[in-house]
Symmetry: C2
Subunit: 330 residues, 2 copies
């Protein structure tokens, strides 16, 4: 494992993007979002995913020149067409627009159709929280999760992000609807360990903690069984209906062609509702009450991110040597 | 088990409320919401809960004369003070106001402080869907769920409702953050059966399907383990911050004194975003794609409600004889 300084990594990625024809300022922003995700410890959705993103530029799934276009406005809700632009840039500008809308209207909602994989969903939660907003966003995905009661995938794992600003460290929930992602299953399988809890079904339809058995059956579990299954379904419905874009069942199944996704971004202007000191006190008291239930044994969502960020900025961002070598060839 | 006709049950409950001093029109509405919940098959939160509601009127937790009061408006968001009025009436009027706000602003949000238990959360999802709106609402509760990693309760099971209108039958998700409610655990324990999946920890801290062991340990599981735990926490934060009301850790632990809850109601004006025939097609196609993954083996959230409603209206609402006798003594 190498340790690469953040600026060097971001510049390397930006350089690659510029060579694909990206506008330089957009390349910088796009590269920074990838590098920040690795900086924050969400390795599966940061630089590790960059080669796949590069491949989707090459195969035409991502249009590097496209920027989102507003197609409809209805008070505090707007529909935008992502025009298959880079997913992280589209998502960033959508949350930025939701924040902007909320400054006059208290709340802002951008429903984005025809976009691409947003990489780490938490990015747009941190974006909202850093602007002192409560942020909610979610995306649909290709069908990769069997609904409860079915043996084959028919819902997406539709990551849902909820972020609450807090001066001492925002609380940012970033969760997919599957208990373990395929990436996590692969990591556990390589380690030779069992999952800490049931993660899916084996070939015989029994619940199992064996990650390899779940990879083989392609039957990971929704969180909370029937509950996460239902939640995945309604998130897809809302994303498709509000944006006018595609639903999970219409998205190509092949991961390298997973495009034209639908997403929703909501911002709530907390700062205009209540003095910042008051909301900080309320947020702190809730965090403390939860942590006090087992000091040292309980974490709040996002807590680990700030620790990892600090460590990675100090030591350099951890990168597989093979990945670094691959990036330098792109 | 008796079968009581819907109008008779609603009139009986209304009569009881009027005798407590309720305004007759409000008594009718409140009684109807209880009876409709039983009609729809959500027995634990319908008439079964009426004696507890009655007791909370008696002990002063519920103020039957109080109506919600708007305390702040910021564009499409409003803060209301529920003044400890009847929880179901407060929630109903809050979703009605969110719907009203969304007719001009595309989206409406009512954050309600100082209210009481809303009984069945799904009621306000159906309310939105019946008005052709997408509705989202949630409530906080007293601390009744250990966060992941802790042995004692410090988050609420904070039911979350998401409702999507559909002419053929709305999709209404109504889920608490615990995998099984205490009510469900009691029912399973009485039946002598194991839970279908792990529902909590036993006294030794092992995951178990034994409902009685979980009742004894008071350690039910959040849905998706660490994920539902985090979701419960951010829902509480949003409810307290947006409404300016109490958070879970401030709510009295005693069930008969569980008052001054915080709730959030969101309505999205789908009908103004897109022609109803188009949204009906989109919604139908998603429902059909999910059901097709295992015909007869998969259900969508809310599907069972319409079947149960039809049956109960035809046959009368099922009621325990002892409960009916108790109601007639109130």
């Amino acid at each position: 494992m190498l340790r690469v300084p953040f600026p060097e990594l971001a510049a390397t990625l930006s350089g690659i993007l510029v060579r694909t024809g990206f506008d330089p300022a957009r390349a910088d922003h796009c590269a920074r979002l990838f590098a920040e995700t690795t900086r924050d410890g969400v390795y599966s959705h940061g630089v590790e995913r960059f080669p796949r993103f590069f491949e989707m530029i090459r195969n035409g799934s991502v249009d590097i020149h496209a920027t989102p276009e507003r197609v409809q406005q209805l008070g505090a809700i707007e529909r935008w067409d992502g025009r298959r632009g880079p997913g992280n840039l589209n998502a960033w500008s959508s949350m930025a627009r939701a924040i902007e809308l909320s400054s006059e209207r208290g709340i802002g909602c951008v429903a984005l159709a025809n976009t691409n994989h947003w990489m780490r969903g938490g990015t747009y939660g941190w974006q909202a929280a850093d602007a002192a907003m409560i942020g909610i966003c979610w995306t649909n995905t290709l069908a990769n999760l069997p609904p409860w009661g079915a043996p084959v995938a028919a819902v997406g794992n539709n990551p849902l992000v909820i972020a609450v600003p807090r001066p001492a460290g925002p609380v940012v929930l970033d969760m997919a609807m599957s208990q373990f992602s395929y990436g996590a299953l692969a990591t556990w399988a390589q380690s030779g360990q069992l999952l800490p809890v049931d993660g899916g079904f084996d070939a015989n339809g029994n619940l199992t903690r064996d990650p390899a058995a779940i990879e083989a059956s392609q039957r990971p579990l929704p969180i909370g069984y029937w509950k996460g299954s239902g939640l995945a379904m309604v998130l897809d419905m809302m994303a498709a209906l509000l944006s006018g874009g595609l639903a999970t069942h219409q998205i190509p199944i092949e991961p390298l062609r997973e495009t034209s996704l639908s997403q929703v971004f909501l911002a709530f202007n907390l700062a205009k509702l209540c003095p910042p000191e008051e909301s900080a006190r309320t947020a702190d008291a809730i965090v403390e009450s939860v942590l006090a239930s087992n000091p040292g044994g309980v974490r709040y969502p996002g807590e680990q991110v700030l620790k990892t960020r600090t460590e990675n900025l100090a030591l350099g961002l951890p990168l597989r040597e093979a990945l670094w070598a691959e990036l330098r060839r792109l």
